[in-house]
């Protein structure tokens, strides 16, 4: 049995002003992958390709064992999709949407839908046009979750939500994580949200995947070293340094290949390591983007 719910191999797409650069990305079954990139980095294009909504120009896409876009109908039977720019029918109410989705998906779980209705504080009889943005996102999430999909694809679902609504959405997702067979792809430019729920992380920038690994590895390997340079000494090229900040003798170095062995290498180069600090996912993301744009190899 394939242990990847999603497999993208050398997938490319050319637009007039944007190019998806033959990306490869695997989502292990049961994983929660945070897909992080700035606006216009290629997150939505990648997601639309894996749903068959946009056809790739190059490369292959397998989703839940189905080849996309040719077998998208079969694949989408097991996919729940929520996107920030997705809208429900404004003149219909949520109950109508629930009935519509129920008529399409045999796995629809009415009890779970009603549970989510209460949890999200939504009224089934309320028309969609009367809902706030937060309520609309929660309504869409309810529709996507209640048919118990094997793959949940969330494209910037928390964008524009107030803190309470954002927390409610994230809590509902955390609950869903209890199902180890369900794979989640969560795209966002908000690293805090991704850090809360993901176990895998992929960074995308200017149409290229620049990092795809487990969140723990990432947080473990990326460190900030506060170092002191001996008077009169200059900092020569050191291995695995992504970013260097500071003036004079006190410097702050960011590495993406931290290991205790680095201490010895840096000390031999005349550095006194004063502190080793963990980085937040946001700091790692920003440092990765800057390093790549400066032409450094990650």
């Amino acid at each position: 049995m394939n242990n990847h719910a999603v497999e993208l191999r050398n997938v490319g797409k050319d637009y007039k002003y944007f190019r998806l650069n033959d990306i490869s990305l695997n989502l292990p079954t049961g994983s929660i992958t945070g897909f992080i990139g700035v606006n216009g980095a290629g997150k939505s294009t990648t997601i639309r390709i894996l749903l068959g909504l946009v056809h790739q120009d190059r490369g292959s896409v397998q989703v839940l064992g189905q080849t996309m876009p040719d077998q998208q109908v079969l694949a989408k039977r097991e996919i729940g999709y929520v996107s920030e720019d997705m809208r429900l029918y404004p003149k219909a109410n949520l109950a109508w949407h629930m009935q519509f989705i129920q008529s399409i998906y045999p796995n629809w779980d009415q009890a779970y839908a009603e549970q989510l209705l209460k949890r999200f504080d939504l009224r089934a009889e309320q028309k969609i046009k009367g809902l706030s943005h937060g309520q609309r996102v929660k309504a869409t999430l309810l529709l996507a979750l209640a048919h118990r999909p094997k793959l949940l694809v969330l494209d910037e679902p928390t964008t524009g939500l107030d803190p309470v609504a954002r927390q409610e959405v994230l809590s509902a997702l955390m609950e869903v994580l209890a199902d180890e067979q369900r794979t989640i792809l969560f795209s966002s430019h908000n690293t805090l949200d991704v850090e809360q729920i993901s176990d895998q992380v992929a960074f995308i920038d200017q149409g290229s995947i620049i990092e795809a690994t487990s969140k723990e590895d990432l947080l473990d390997l990326w460190r900030r070293l506060r170092v002191r340079i001996a008077p009169g000494q200059t900092l020569t090229e050191l291995p695995h340094i992504i970013q260097q900040q500071g003036n004079g003798q006190l410097q702050s170095l960011i590495t993406n290949r931290y290991s205790p062995d680095l201490h010895q290498i840096y000390q031999q180069a005349g550095l006194e390591i004063q502190a080793v600090e963990h980085l937040t996912l946001e700091e790692i993301f920003v440092a990765s983007i800057q390093a790549r744009r400066e032409g450094k190899t990650l």
Partner: protein
């Protein structure tokens, strides 16, 4: 028919049920007006009302049930369901066509009924009325096709303008054809070969427009 296509057609009918009820109601009123004496102003108003309803429905249905799916971003929701581009295009064509055809058929059947039961209207008029109404149906197919293919209101409005001019030109043109003009004033019900040929051309164009829409939609690689 694929069950997903059926669901999508049902969905479109449900979403547009209020609008359709208003148009069907208005068409009923217009049909009742045709019961008046053909020399009475009410009859004339009924004819104008029928044509107005059908022309407005052409653009209203296209904007509310085709273009709004793009502009209101509900297409993303629909395309995330287990549906292919082909399913979507077939369902959209079938739903729109069926919604248009209810008031259109009411207009066609009532005009036949009025003509055939009226002493003051020649039976030969049925051919002209039928060709005119089929021309409106053809216009609707063109507007719907451009709405679906271009995904833009401008495309549909452009098609509406062309169709409106085309309809006026069509009526003016066929009345210049002696075989049709003579039949219009006669009490002969049977169609002549000229009328049948025009009807056949109209039907071929309608099928061609629908087929072209499906073909173009199937070849699209970006849906949102």
């Amino acid at each position: 028919m694929n069950s997903m296509i059926k669901q999508l057609i049902r969905k479109d009918w449900q979403i547009n049920r209020t609008m359709m009820a208003i148009y069907i109601g208005a068409m009923l009123i217009a049909n009742v007006m045709l019961l008046a004496d053909p020399d009475n102003i009410v009859f004339g108003m009924g004819v104008i009302l029928i044509l107005t309803i059908l022309f407005i429905l052409c653009i209203h249905l296209t904007t509310s049930n085709v273009i709004s799916e793009y502009s209101q971003k509900t297409l993303t929701f629909i395309m995330s369901l287990p549906v292919s581009a082909r399913h979507y295009a077939i369902a959209k064509l079938a739903a729109n066509l069926s919604m248009f055809c209810v008031p259109w058929l009411m207009a066609l059947l009532s005009s036949w009924l009025i003509i055939l039961t009226s002493d003051s209207l020649p039976n030969g008029l049925t051919a002209l009325v039928t060709l005119g109404l089929v021309e409106i149906l053809l216009s609707y197919c063109l507007i719907m096709m451009l709405g679906i293919v271009t995904e833009s209101q401008h495309g549909a409005i452009g098609a509406m303008a062309i169709s409106n001019l085309g309809f006026q030109g069509f009526i003016w043109g066929i009345l210049k054809i002696p075989a049709i003009a003579q039949h219009r004033d006669s009490n002969q019900l049977a169609w002549n070969s000229t009328e049948l040929s025009i009807l056949a051309i109209q039907l071929v164009v309608i099928i061609g427009l629908l087929g072209t829409t499906l073909l173009i939609q199937q070849r699209k690689t970006n849906f949102i």
